[in-house]
C-alpha cells in the first residue's frame, strides 16, 4: 500500500510543521506579480467599518441580517499546483527506490501540506502530451483521504512529451501560484519551453527532479543492448568500468546543466535520488531550500 498507517502519521506531522511555518507568513506576501481579473469568491469575513461597501455580499446579508465581506482568492489563499509525471519512464527502480511510488508519496506529502494550510490545491497527472487526470481545485483537510486515493490509483504509462503537456496545462490553468513539477525529466523534446510558459503567467516553479540510484550509478557491465522503456528504442553498448565512470559524470553534468538553466530563470530546482527518505526530503531539504513555506 502506498500510504500505510505510518506514512499517514508522517503526513500529519508534516502538515503541522508546515502550518506552523505558514502561520508566520504575512498575508499577501505570496501575491503573484500578475493580478488575476477573474474574481473567484473564496471566503467571508465580518464587515468592519471602513470596508468597501461594494464588497458586501447582499444576498448573505438578506438571509443572515449581518454584513459580510467577500474575500478574493488572491488575498486570502495560495494556489498550489502539483504536476506528477506518470510516463512509462517513471516505472523504474527497486522496492522503496521505485521512482513513481516515490513521486506519489512526494505528491501526497505536498498536497497534504497544502490542504492543511488552507491552500487551494490542484494535483494533475501528466502522460503523453497532455494532462490526463486531475484532482481539485480543493481546499481543506477534508480532502485528504480522497486525494490520497486519487494518487494511489495512478499508474505510469505512455511516453513523455513534457513540453507539450506543460504548455497544455499552462493554457488551461487559471490561478497562478506555486507549481511543483515532479518528474525524471527524461523528455527528448525538453521541458524548458513549457516551464517558461508558467513563468510568463506569474507562477513560481519548482522542479523536483527524481532519479533512481540505478539511473545515477548503473550496475551493468559487458556487451549490452539497452531498450528504452517508453519508446522501445535500442542502444548497443559495451560497458566497462571506464564507460560507467563516464556515464556517472554525464548524469551529473546533465543535472548541472538543468540547475544552471533554472538558476538563470529563477526556477527552484532540487535533484533527488529515490534513496533519500521522502519525509526527510520534504521536512528538511525543501524547507532548507525555501521551497516549503
Amino acid at each position: 500500500m502506498l500510504f500505510d498507517e505510518s506514512t499517514l502519521r508522517k503526513l500529519e506531522r508534516l502538515a503541522l510543521v508546515a502550518a506552523q511555518v505558514r502561520a508566520g507568513v504575512m498575508k499577501g506576501e505570496r501575491r503573484s506579480t500578475k493580478r488575476g481579473t477573474s474574481i473567484e469568491f473564496a471566503d467571508y469575513r465580518d464587515y468592519v467599518r471602513g470596508d468597501d461597501l461594494r464588497r458586501v455580499d447582499w444576498n448573505v446579508y438578506a438571509r443572515l441580517e449581518r454584513p459580510f465581506i467577500k474575500l478574493l482568492e488572491e488575498e486570502e489563499d495560495l494556489a498550489v499546483h502539483i504536476l506528477l509525471d506518470a510516463s512509462r519512464s517513471m516505472d523504474f527502480g527497486e522496492g522503496e527506490n521505485h521512482k513513481f511510488r516515490y513521486a506519489q508519496r512526494l505528491a501526497a506529502a505536498l498536497g497534504y501540506i497544502a490542504l492543511a494550510a488552507g491552500d487551494r490545491l490542484t494535483l494533475t497527472i501528466l502522460q503523453d502530451s497532455a494532462p490526463v487526470a486531475q484532482y481539485g481545485p480543493a481546499r481543506g483537510r477534508g480532502h485528504t483521504l480522497r486525494l490520497i486515493r486519487f494518487i494511489e490509483e495512478q499508474e505510469p504509462r505512455g511516453a513523455t512529451e513534457l513540453d507539450a503537456a506543460l504548455r497544455s496545462y499552462a493554457l488551461s490553468a487559471k490561478r497562478p501560484g506555486l507549481i511543483f513539477l515532479i518528474s525524471d525529466l527524461f523528455a527528448p523534446d525538453g521541458y524548458q519551453d513549457g516551464v517558461a510558459q508558467f513563468q510568463g503567467r506569474g507562477y513560481e516553479v519548482t522542479l523536483l527532479h527524481v532519479l533512481a540510484p540505478e539511473e545515477l550509478d548503473p550496475q551493468l557491465a559487458g556487451d549490452l543492448r539497452l531498450i528504452d522503456a517508453e519508446t522501445g528504442a535500442p542502444q548497443d553498448i559495451t560497458l566497462d568500468g571506464g564507460l560507467r565512470d563516464r556515464y556517472r559524470q554525464r548524469v551529473q553534468a546533465w543535472r548541472d546543466e538543468i540547475e544552471a538553466h533554472c538558476l538563470k530563470r529563477h526556477i527552484n530546482y532540487l535533484p533527488i535520488s529515490t534513496q533519500t527518505a521522502w519525509d526527510e526530503l520534504v521536512l528538511y531539504q525543501l524547507r532548507r531550500r525555501g521551497l516549503l513555506k
Partner: protein, 641 residues
C-alpha cells in the same frame, strides 16, 4: 660462402591461415544481452559526446585488429625458426676437447685462458647448425664427457658453464681415447675434432679419426715457477732445498720468501735468467715437525700480488716430520716367539730387561710383562700383559682353566681384523676377571683369552695364556694378532710423504688400531672420508695444491703437501701447432657457415606486442572527457562544493 636468412621449419608458415578466423571474428557482430532501462536518452548523449571528442575510439577497434594480426605473424615466423648464416669454425658432428690442465689457469689473456677457451666454445654452440651435434670433453687429470652428441644448445651451454680448470696436468691419452671412441660412434666423414688448448700436449699422442682442428689459447710465456721444494734430515737438523725456474723470455729478479708455519723465516732475492733456473739451500733448520712454505714475489711488489701469468706455481709447501720409532721394553724370563715378533714388526726398537731388577729410568713407549709378577707400580705408558700370574692394580687374576675350546672372536673390532682363531689350540689359560675398562677380543668357554682397553690414560692389552702353552706362535693368527695389538699400543707413523705429492698421486695411510675414523682435510678445509683397503686407507683426491691434514678421532696424525712441480705445465708458452699422430695441426681460421637462430627475438617482440595490445585495450576505456561545456560545468560544480 652464402650468408643470408632462411627457415628451418618453413611448414609452420601455413599457420598464417589463422589470420582468417581472426578477421571473421572481428566482422561478426557481438551477441548482446538485452536490458530494459527507463530511458536511453543519457546513454545516447554520452556516446555522442564520446565519438565527437575521441575519434580514436573508432580507430581503436581497427588498431587492435592490426596488432593481433601482427602478433600472429610474429608467432608464425617464430615457429618457422628463421636463422641467419654466420661464419664459424666448424660444423657437422663436432667433438670439442677443452684443455683443463693447470697451465690453462694462466691470466696472460683475461680473465684466464680457460675462460677464453670457454667463450670460443660458446660461439661454436651459438652457431651450431640444427643438423649438427656436439660432444664436449673436459681434459683434466681424469678426462670426462660433459655433453655427448647433442644438438640441444641449452644442454651444451649448461655443460660448458659447469666446466672448471684443474690444478693438475691433463691426461691427453685418456682424452684422445674418449674422443676417438666418440668419433667412431658417429659418421666419420662429417666428424670434426676441435681442440681448445694452450698446446702443452705430449708429443707421442695417437692419431684421431676425422678432421682435427686446433684453436690455440694464450699469448705469453712469462712465468717463473718453484720447481722443487723439499726437506731432508741431516746431522745438524733438516736442510731445505728449493729450485726456481724462469720460462719467460726475460731475466727475472724474484724474492723467495720461506715461512715456517705462519712465521717468515727467510727472504732472499734471486736473479733467474730467462730459460734457466736458480737453487736455494737453507741448512740447519729446527728439528721439529713443521709446515714450510715458499712464495715467489717481485721486488717492490706487495706480497700476494700476481707477478707472472701463472700463480699456481708461485707457491709451494713441504712438511718436515722428524723420524721416530717406538721403544719397547720386554720384561720376560725369555720368550723367543715374542722377541722375534717384536724385532720383525716395523717402527719398533725392542729392549729386554730382567723382571727382577727395577725398571730403567728412561721412559719407553710400551712395556711388555710376559709371565712375570708386576709388583712395582705400573709405568704410565702402554702395557701388554702375557700370561699374568698375579693381580695388578688394574685387573685381577684367578685360577687356571683348561676349557679353551670353541673360542669366539669379537666381530667388527679393529683389533680382531683378519684374525682367524679356528686352528689355534691352547692348553690352559689364566682366568682374568674382565675389568669394566676392557673389552674381550677372544674368549673361550672357560674365560677370556685376549682383552684390550684404555685405563688411566694408557692402552692395555692382556693375553691370558703363556704363548708356549699354545700353538698360537705357529699359526697365521699370531703375527696378525701381534701386529694388531702392537699397532694399537705403539703405532708407527701413520703415513709417509716426505717429498709431498703431485696432483693426482695417491697416499696410503695406515690407521693405528683404534682409529676408527680417518679423515683428510684439503687446503680449503673440506673433509674427505678415505676409502679403506686391506693395506690401509687410500687417499686419491689430491687435486688441489696446498697442505692437507690427516686426522683420526679428532687428533691430528700429520700433514702432507701437494705441489704442481711440473715443468710442462709451468712452461706456459702457447704452441702454434700440436702433434696428433704424425700430423702437425695448426690454428684453424673460421671458414665454415653456421646458423644463428633468431626466433627468441621474434618471440620477445610478440610478447611486447601482447603487452601493448592489452594496454591499448584498457587505455581506450578510460580516456578523459573533452574540454568544453561539460568540463566547464563539472569544474563549476566541484568549485561550488
Amino acid at each position: 660462402m652464402h650468408l643470408g636468412m632462411a627457415f628451418l621449419t618453413p611448414l609452420f608458415l601455413f599457420l598464417a591461415a589463422l589470420a582468417v578466423p581472426i578477421l571473421i571474428l572481428y566482422m561478426l557482430k557481438l551477441r548482446r544481452r538485452e536490458v530494459e532501462i527507463s530511458s536511453v536518452m543519457l546513454w545516447q548523449m554520452l556516446l555522442r559526446d564520446r565519438e565527437a571528442n575521441a575519434p580514436w575510439q573508432k580507430l581503436k577497434r581497427n588498431l587492435l585488429l592490426f596488432l593481433q594480426l601482427l602478433l600472429l605473424a610474429l608467432l608464425v615466423l617464430s615457429l618457422a625458426r628463421p636463422f641467419l648464416s654466420v661464419p664459424t669454425v666448424a660444423r657437422g658432428t663436432l667433438i670439442v676437447l677443452l684443455d683443463a690442465s693447470a697451465s690453462m689457469n694462466a691470466s696472460d689473456v683475461q680473465p684466464s685462458r680457460f675462460d677464453v677457451a670457454k667463450a670460443g666454445i660458446r660461439e661454436l654452440v651459438d652457431g651450431l647448425a640444427s643438423d649438427s651435434r656436439m660432444s664436449l670433453i673436459l681434459v683434466g687429470r681424469q678426462p670426462s664427457v660433459l655433453a655427448s652428441a647433442t644438438s640441444d644448445k641449452d644442454t651444451l651451454r649448461a655443460a660448458l658453464s659447469s666446466a672448471q680448470a684443474s690444478q693438475s696436468p691433463a691426461d691427453w691419452e685418456a682424452a684422445f681415447a674418449l674422443a676417438g671412441g666418440a668419433a667412431r660412434a658417429g659418421l666419420l666423414a662429417e666428424t670434426r675434432i676441435v681442440i681448445f688448448s694452450d698446446g702443452g700436449l705430449p708429443s707421442n699422442l695417437p692419431p684421431l679419426p676425422g678432421d682435427v682442428r686446433y684453436v690455440p689459447i694464450g699469448s705469453s710465456a712469462d712465468n717463473v715457477a718453484i720447481e722443487a721444494l723439499s726437506l731432508r734430515p741431516t746431522g745438524g737438523g733438516p736442510q731445505l732445498f728449493a729450485r726456481i725456474a724462469n720460462y719467460g723470455e726475460a731475466d727475472r729478479a724474484v724474492i723467495v720468501s720461506i715461512k715456517i708455519g705462519e712465521r717468515l723465516f727467510s727472504a732472499q732475492q734471486l736473479n733467474v735468467p730467462a730459460g734457466g733456473a736458480e737453487e736455494l739451500i737453507l741448512p740447519d733448520l729446527p728439528d721439529t715437525p713443521a709446515v714450510y712454505s715458499a712464495q715467489l714475489s717481485a721486488p717492490g711488489v706487495e706480497e700476494g700480488a700476481a707477478f707472472d701469468a701463472l700463480a699456481l706455481d708461485d707457491t709451494a709447501w713441504a712438511v718436515y716430520q722428524p723420524p721416530t720409532s717406538g721403544r719397547v721394553l720386554v720384561l720376560s724370563p725369555g720368550n723367543v716367539f715374542l722377541e722375534q715378533m717384536l724385532t720383525a714388526l716395523p717402527g719398533l726398537q725392542p729392549f729386554r730387561a730382567s723382571p727382577t731388577t727395577p725398571l730403567p729410568e728412561d721412559p719407553f713407549d710400551l712395556y711388555v710383562y710376559d709371565s712375570v709378577t708386576s709388583t712395582a707400580q705400573l709405568p704410565s705408558a702402554e702395557l701388554l700383559f702375557i700370561n699374568p700370574i698375579s693381580d695388578t692394580a688394574i685387573f685381577e687374576v684367578g685360577g687356571i682353566f683348561t676349557n679353551t675350546k670353541l673360542a669366539r672372536v669379537a666381530a667388527n673390532d679393529p683389533l680382531t681384523q683378519y684374525l682367524d682363531w679356528s686352528k689355534v689350540g691352547i692348553l690352559q689359560a689364566r682366568r682374568v676377571a674382565v675389568p669394566d675398562w676392557a673389552r674381550v677380543l677372544v674368549s673361550a668357554e672357560g674365560g677370556p683369552l685376549v682383552l684390550a682397553g684404555e685405563t688411566g690414560g694408557r692402552r692395555v692389552a692382556i693375553i691370558t695364556f703363556r704363548l708356549q702353552d699354545s700353538d698360537l706362535p705357529l699359526q697365521l693368527a699370531y703375527p696378525v694378532l701381534m701386529a694388531n695389538l702392537i699397532n694399537y699400543l705403539a703405532p708407527a707413523q701413520a703415513f709417509s710423504a716426505p717429498d709431498g705429492l703431485r696432483p693426482g698421486e695417491t697416499l696410503l695411510i695406515k690407521p693405528r688400531g683404534g682409529d676408527t675414523a680417518i679423515g683428510i682435510d684439503d687446503p680449503d678445509g673440506e673433509r674427505f672420508a678415505a676409502q679403506t683397503t686391506e693395506a690401509g686407507v687410500l687417499f686419491t683426491a689430491s687435486n688441489k695444491l696446498g697442505v692437507y691434514t690427516v686426522v683420526s678421532n679428532q687428533a691430528v696424525l700429520g700433514n702432507f703437501a701437494v705441489n704442481l712441480f711440473n715443468a710442462a705445465e709451468s712452461n706456459i708458452r702457447p704452441a702454434a701447432t700440436i702433434s696428433v699422430g704424425r700430423a702437425e695441426v695448426t690454428a684453424t681460421p673460421r671458414e665454415e657457415v653456421g646458423q644463428l637462430e633468431i626466433w627468441p627475438w621474434l618471440a620477445l617482440a610478440a610478447f611486447a606486442l601482447l603487452l601493448l595490445e592489452w594496454w591499448i585495450y584498457h587505455r581506450g576505456a578510460t580516456l578523459p572527457a573533452a574540454p568544453g561545456v561539460l568540463g566547464w560545468f563539472r569544474r563549476k560544480k566541484s568549485a561550488a562544493q
